[in-house]
């Protein structure tokens, strides 16, 4: 009997199977790591939280320009004049929506301030006619999502010992980006479910589906 199979190297199957198991484990772990990447942004990714004691995904998003009836400048109000976000968006701490300030609030200042500007004159004309401007929503979540500003402000601002109310801007910017540098607001965070989930995981927010889905 001529057996000449020594020249043909057969693969040692035990070693091979161990290798395969190892590779399998690597794949599983890699998947998990990838999964972690998708779900949880570690400290090295976040450029230092602006809100102390929190971590959140610093995902940038380039929104589209949404035209508004009046070219309201957040930069002038919140940036240059450092008006607190909640001065105008006064409902944010009391309701799920932050709200657009009522026209009377605008007119509270603009009967005296900057009355010569064309945009302000537009505003004044509307006020005199008793009309409200029809703003276009920039940060609009789908209708099956329940998001409440009230709870988030409490969690990150009012319950945060290192911040006081004047730091509202820092909390708002978690989801809205640096509005104070914008003129007309533009969406600068993706506000997708993944975005929400990552922040909830990082900050131990509720993970129950019905918290956010209605």
């Amino acid at each position: 009997m001529v057996k000449d199979s020594s020249t043909k190297r057969s693969i040692p199957w035990i070693r091979l199977s161990m290798l395969m198991v190892f590779v399998g484990a690597i794949i599983v772990i890699a998947a998990q790591v990838l999964d972690q990447k998708l779900h949880y942004v570690g400290e090295d990714v976040v450029p230092g939280p602006i809100v102390p004691g929190t971590q959140y995904p610093d995902e940038k998003f380039t929104g589209i320009d949404v035209p508004q009836p009046i070219n309201f400048s957040h930069k002038i109000h919140a940036g240059d004049n450092e008006i607190n976000c909640m001065f105008c968006h006064t409902y944010a701490r009391r309701s799920k929506v932050s709200g657009i300030p009522p026209l009377s609030k605008c007119m509270g200042c603009h009967t005296v301030i900057a009355t010569d500007k064309p945009e302000i004159q537009k505003l004044t004309a509307m006020w005199e006619k008793g009309e409200s401007p029809k703003w276009n929503k920039v940060h609009d979540l789908p209708d099956f999502v329940h998001f409440t500003h009230q709870r988030h402000l409490k969690r990150f601002l009012f319950d945060n010992e290192e911040l006081d109310v004047s730091d509202a801007k820092r909390v708002c910017s978690m989801c809205h980006g640096d509005i104070a540098e914008m003129t007309v607001a533009k969406k600068s965070r993706p506000l997708t479910m993944g975005f929400c989930i990552r922040c909830h995981e990082a900050n131990e927010g509720p993970s129950d589906c019905t918290k956010c889905h209605k």
Binding site: V66, S95, P102, S132, W135, N136, L141, P142, H146, M193
Partner: protein, 737 residues
């Protein structure tokens, strides 16, 4: 606020839903009405700039977008006058709840109250005034319509037809009526307790006594459907809840066709239509002869009537086994206090008044008067009081119209052309009226036949004050206030319109009021003797305010039982036009929620049905779902058979409320109206149209199409679904005697 141009969104199914429409009205929408299906991949722009937000001009402090505000008002679903709270968010009223402080409904609400929202948001509401030109109604401006009325209304004999009406609306209507020189005010309500109330007024001296169901241990009800259609159903249902608490009371219901109350009875007595008086007499006989009840205060004439009706005799008249009559008597004798009521089908025949009188007689001999039936309170300002309305007025209206006694008719809150049996010739009378003005928010049968139709605001957009049909203790004035801006901007409130008409007709003393709100406010400040803003606001918040009332005294005057059995119903089948909670007298037919809410007993939706006993059905060759033709001397209707054992074999019951030829997309051409073929019989004493006394012939129309029902089965098939326990065992564990 003007209507906003829409931003449309697409669902995955490509259906477009115009979301901006939701936010019409006051304002700022935090979240529009939600749609599922926008499952966008992660990094797709989420609806940027596709929705608009309108800011408030200068909002009230308590208005917060995204947070509902509750406003108090009054439900006008029926004459019950329940107080309600309406949840308002972003300027839209979303949900109604009962007002917990109300002594009428204690925070609860019936299905009709819940569904009032849909009469408010109904797509078939009248948006603009309509004026008849060349035979058809065309849209017109308010000025045109009002000037036309001004031109025609002041010449001739004028009259008003309304539903139940109370409070300041009643005052302005009557002011207007007198200003245009009329005197007849027909308050029409098909579903009422007029016979019972008349009998109470005559016999115990209080037409609206307090009925303490919660204190009774036994309720013996002759057809009174107090859980659904009797005076103030929610109030009684609330007390029924107490009645069913420990110690638990027993409910005995005697009626020819099962009502909701009958559906809850411990003992349901299917009685031959029109023989309730005999049953009551039979029970009285057993009580006096077997249980030694003395029968104080009963006249000899009545006693002899009672003696004629020993249980066996009564049993043969009523088609009820004698031992059941004795059982009822035994139950009444053993459990005191009890209460005996009469209403519904028992009073809807020629001797209905006798049945009510017999019920009161039973109360008298059982000693219930003053215990479970106590004196009510009378309003100190009778001009504000509730005109309950009845169907006798409907007949009067037809008769007067036919006699040419009416030249100008104003109608609001009732639908005489739908409610009137053909036999009273309302159609002909209607055409003899020279000028008909209908104030309505829906284009019902009557409005379609009017010369001028004035579009009313819905009950949730309007101001008003109401006296509830029934309440215990102090009497309250219930406030009706608008919960949102008008859905249809060119509609006006009832009070505003009538006030305007009255002013136009030159009624004195009204010129100082710009609108009905001003009138109402000043009138109430007179009533409350204060004009302070705070007082007014607390009134708005409470939704009701006590008004002075006077006590009454109860007495007992016997001898009102005359006729004992309605011989007209012997033999053949008797048509019972049964009143149901839901469609009510037809006003619920345009509300899809009520159409789709199954009838409590038959569980039928979206159509009429004819209840038949299996025995009768078998003899007539009718199966469940067969079309049957019901023919009376005044015409015929065809509807489908519902066969079950909750009806006397000698009766056929068809519910009231459907069979509209107008009233919008949901009501039109849906079901049949049994009122049309009633033969014109009335209760001998009150003149109420007898809805349960028409002889009919029933034939199989030869087609079969199963009814749309919630359930196709009547039995539990051995499953433990509704488990039942006997009252004796329940008493052992939960107490009570």
């Amino acid at each position: 606020m003007s209507q906003v141009k829409s931003g449309e969104i697409k669902t995955m199914s490509q259906s477009k839903l115009d979301r901006r429409q939701f936010l019409k009205g006051l304002g700022l929408g935090g979240a529009g009405v939600a749609l599922a299906g926008c499952d966008l991949p992660s990094y797709v722009t989420l609806e940027q700039g596709e929705e608009n937000v309108i800011s408030y001009l200068a909002p009230d402090e308590y208005v917060i977008p995204g947070v509902g505000v509750w406003y108090a008002s009054t439900c006008l679903g029926c004459a019950g006058g329940c107080s309600i709270h309406g949840r308002v968010r972003e300027g839209r009223v979303l949900k109604l709840e009962g007002n917990p402080d109300s002594s009428v409904n204690m925070g609860r609400l019936c299905q009709m109250g819940q569904a009032t929202l849909q009469s408010h948001f109904n797509p078939d509401r009248i948006a603009n005034p309509l004026v008849r030109k060349n035979g058809s109604l065309v849209e017109a401006s308010w000025d045109d319509a009002l000037s036309l009325i001004n031109e025609k209304a002041n010449s001739g004999k004028a009259a008003w037809a309304t539903g139940a009406i109370s409070g300041h609306q009643r005052v302005v209507v009557e002011t207007h009526l007198s200003a245009i020189g009329g005197s007849n005010h027909y308050a029409i309500e098909q579903i009422n307790a007029n016979v019972w109330q008349t009998a109470c007024g005559d016999i115990i001296g209080d037409p609206n006594p307090e009925i303490h169901l919660d204190k009774a241990k036994v309720i013996f009800s002759l057809g009174a459907d107090f859980l659904a259609t009797f005076i103030s159903p929610v109030h009684f249902a609330a007390h029924y809840g107490e009645f069913r608490s420990v110690p638990r009371g027993t409910l005995i219901q005697a009626e020819p066709a099962m009502s909701l109350t009958g559906g809850n009875a411990d003992h349901w007595v299917g009685i031959k239509p029109g023989t309730e008086t005999s049953l009551a007499l039979g029970v009285a006989n057993a009580l006096m002869n077997k249980h030694g009840i003395s029968g104080s205060g009963i006249s000899n004439a009545t006693k002899s009537l009672i003696n004629e009706h020993d249980p066996a005799t009564a049993a043969s008249i009523c088609d009820v086994p004698a031992d059941r009559i004795e059982k009822i008597a035994a139950s009444l004798a053993a459990n005191s206090p009890s209460i005996v009521l009469a209403g519904g089908t028992a009073t809807a025949n020629a001797n209905g008044y006798s049945a009510a009188a017999a019920a009161l007689m039973l109360n008298q001999i059982l000693g219930n008067i003053g215990v479970t039936i106590t004196s009510g309170r009378e309003l100190a300002y009778p001009q504000l009081g509730l005109i309950e309305g009845n169907s006798a007025n409907l007949k009067d209206l037809a008769v007067d119209a036919n006699k040419g006694k009416i030249d100008v008719l104003f109608v609001s809150g009732t639908n005489p052309l739908f409610l009137a049996p053909k036999s009273i010739k309302m159609d002909e009378g209607w055409n003899k009226i020279g000028f008909k003005v209908v104030l309505s928010s829906m284009l019902d049968e009557t409005a379609s036949a009017a010369d001028v139709v004035l579009p009313l605001a819905s009950s949730l957009e309007d101001w008003g004050s109401h006296i509830p049909a029934y309440s215990t203790g102090t009497r309250n004035l219930a406030l009706q206030q608008p919960l949102m801006e008008p859905v249809f901007s060119n509609t006006r409130g009832f009070g505003d319109v009538v006030l305007g008409l009255a002013k136009q007709a030159g009624a004195p003393g009204l010129d100082e009021y710009d609108d009905y709100y001003g009138y109402l406010r000043s009138a109430i400040s007179v009533l409350k003797k204060t004009d302070s803003e705070k007082e007014w606001n607390s009134f708005l918040m409470a939704g009701q305010t006590p008004v002075p009332s006077l006590g009454r005294k109860l007495s007992y005057i016997d001898g009102k039982i005359s006729q004992t059995a309605n011989t007209a119903t012997d033999g053949g089948l008797t048509l019972i036009a049964s009143a149901r909670m839901g469609m009510w007298d037809g006003r619920g037919a345009n509300l899809p929620w009520l159409q789709e809410s199954p009838d409590q007993i038959s569980k039928v939706v979206w159509d009429s049905w004819a209840e038949l006993h299996p025995k009768t059905a078998k003899s007539l060759g009718i199966k469940d779902g067969d079309y049957v033709t019901i023919k009376s001397s005044n015409g015929e209707i065809t509807t489908r058979a519902f066969i079950y054992k909750g009806i006397h074999p000698g009766a056929i019951a068809v519910p009231i409320g459907r069979g509209h030829s107008a009233l919008g997309r949901y009501a039109k051409n849906n079901g049949v109206n049994p009122l049309f073929i009633l033969d014109g019989g009335v209760d001998a004493k009150t003149g109420e149209i007898a809805t349960a006394a028409t002889r009919v012939e029933v034939k199989n129309a030869g087609k079969n199409k199963p009814l749309a029902k919630l359930m196709e089965i009547d039995r539990q098939h051995g499953r433990k679904l509704v488990a039942t326990i006997s009252a004796d065992k329940q008493r052992i564990t939960e107490g009570g005697t």
